[in-house]
């Protein structure tokens, strides 16, 4: 088992870092670069940049986002939002991303997953899923920044996506994200149990200890954190310390 990764998730609109609740609301938190650099220096393992409104607005500004990413960051970056073709993915990888995350376009055309995986390798192709609970044990896939229903079952869709070549899953709980009520453990568990690729749990982190539950009970391989970091409720170091003290495998980071 790989070390658990502590990932900072930045939702981006235009040139701003934003943070919503339940994928709604565009409250500006500040400069994406400044936040990203701070997280890098604090020892974050990876960064995720999501242009959360790209599909909703029918546009693609990712090149700008990635180009504007801080020049002094040397950890992996996953970039998603509005990636609709292999060309889009090519461009994003060329300008600095390590992995691409796709949601809306993959639902519309699952073949895109395979095309990207074959061209760049599965490890580059992150299937991003917005999951909304619709029953005690089921969740529905949403697209367009939590706006459009698809009728797809999350677990079925994840299995299909992995079979088509996705190398990693970014699983966002629409119900929990921005609420600070903790991760949707049942959701993460249901997905982790079914796939042999790494699962990144996203949405709802309230306190540093939430990492422990989502990994130990949910089976997550990584956690994506947004609200807790952007609102400065905890630093990466606090979360890493909690994980290390509890015996959770995380990379050891030396603070300069």
């Amino acid at each position: 088992m790989s070390n658990i990764r502590l990932i900072a998730r930045l939702d981006i609109k235009g040139s701003n870092l934003i943070k919503g609740i339940h994928l709604e609301g565009l409250r500006v938190m500040g400069s994406p670069n400044e936040h990203a650099l701070h997280y890098y220096l604090q020892g974050v393992d990876e960064l995720i940049y999501m242009d959360c409104v790209a599909s909703l607005y029918g546009r693609n500004h990712l090149g700008d986002i990635v180009n504007a990413a801080a020049k002094d960051i040397f950890v992996p970056m996953t970039v998603g939002g509005g990636i609709r073709s292999v060309d889009d993915a090519t461009e994003i990888l060329r300008v600095g991303a390590d992995k691409v995350a796709v949601n809306t376009a993959a639902v519309a055309n699952p073949q895109l997953i395979t095309d990207i995986a074959q061209r760049f390798g599965s490890q580059c192709m992150v299937l991003s899923i917005e999951a909304k609970q619709v029953g005690p044990d089921n969740w529905e896939v949403y697209t367009d920044n939590g706006r459009e229903r698809t009728g797809l079952d999350v677990v079925e869709w994840v299995k299909r996506g992995v079979a088509m070549g996705a190398g990693e899953i970014l699983l966002t709980s629409v119900d929990r994200e921005g609420t600070r009520k903790g991760f949707d453990i049942a959701l993460v568990k249901a997905v982790s149990a079914e796939v042999a690729v790494p699962v990144i749990a996203s949405g709802g982190m309230g306190k540093p200890e939430d990492v422990l539950t989502v990994v130990n009970e949910g089976g997550a391989d990584a956690v994506a954190m947004a609200d807790i970091l952007h609102y400065k409720r905890a630093e990466i170091g606090d979360i890493r310390a909690v994980a290390e003290n509890a015996g959770l495998g995380v990379r050891h980071y030396e603070y300069a």
Partner: protein
């Protein structure tokens, strides 16, 4: 004293900007090119790579770069293959059917095991930070790119396939995944490879890049 140059091969497959930024951050002047002349006369060369072996080799072929890279090996130009770039140095790969590589380091590329040594299923691709340790046969890292690093330092891996050099002396550093040793850093003469991404491994990786610039 002039700025050391590093030539990065741009063959249409790879995260060039990160490699470029990493090297520049470490004080190099970076030349991105697919021009055979420029590559042949380079002081030191990086072969990056993201994606599939089956795309990368044809890309190099079509640009006439396979012969160029083999010639670099003849000239003993320091050559660093990163991630897929390291895998290309080997003789052949199993990814999407058997494909021939550059053949500069004997060995093959096979899939990362999907079961641990004790038989439990494990996730692939291998994604994340793993600690480096000295490979069994190696003589310590003093004469390698890892001379400024210490065993136990973690670096970032993201790969589904791994290189298995035939000659254990070509393995410098390994990481452990599910009990299996994965070749993390290999070397044969001036030809070096790291399976992990030094440009994505924070300060730990940058130390390696700085060392490469001094080759």
């Amino acid at each position: 004293m002039s700025t050391p140059e590093v030539t990065v091969i741009d063959y249409g497959v790879g995260n060039l900007l990160s490699v470029q930024r990493g090297l520049e951050h470490c004080g190099a002047k970076v030349i991105l090119t697919a021009n055979p002349e420029k590559i042949l006369t380079a002081k030191r060369v990086v072969l990056p790579g993201v994606g599939a072996f089956t795309n990368a080799m044809p890309a190099l072929e079509s640009l006439g770069l396979v012969a160029v890279i083999r010639e670099l090996a003849q000239r003993k130009t320091p050559l660093l293959g990163i991630c897929l770039g390291m895998q290309l140095l080997l003789e052949e790969s199993d990814e999407f059917g058997v494909t021939a590589g550059l053949g500069l380091i004997p060995g093959r590329v096979i899939a990362v095991p999907d079961r641990t040594l004790s038989g439990v299923a494990q996730k692939t691709p291998h994604i994340g930070w793993s600690a480096l340790q000295a490979s069994n046969e190696t003589d310590g890292w003093q004469k390698t790119l890892l001379q400024d690093n210490n065993p136990g330092e973690a670096v970032y891996f993201v790969h589904s396939f791994m290189a298995v050099p035939t000659d254990p002396m070509h393995r410098i550093a390994d990481c452990i995944y599910g009990g299996h040793s994965i070749a993390a850093m290999i070397r044969r003469g001036h030809i070096m490879g790291c399976q992990f991404h030094p440009e994505k491994s924070g300060e730990v990786g940058l130390k390696l890049l700085r060392r490469f610039i001094l080759q």
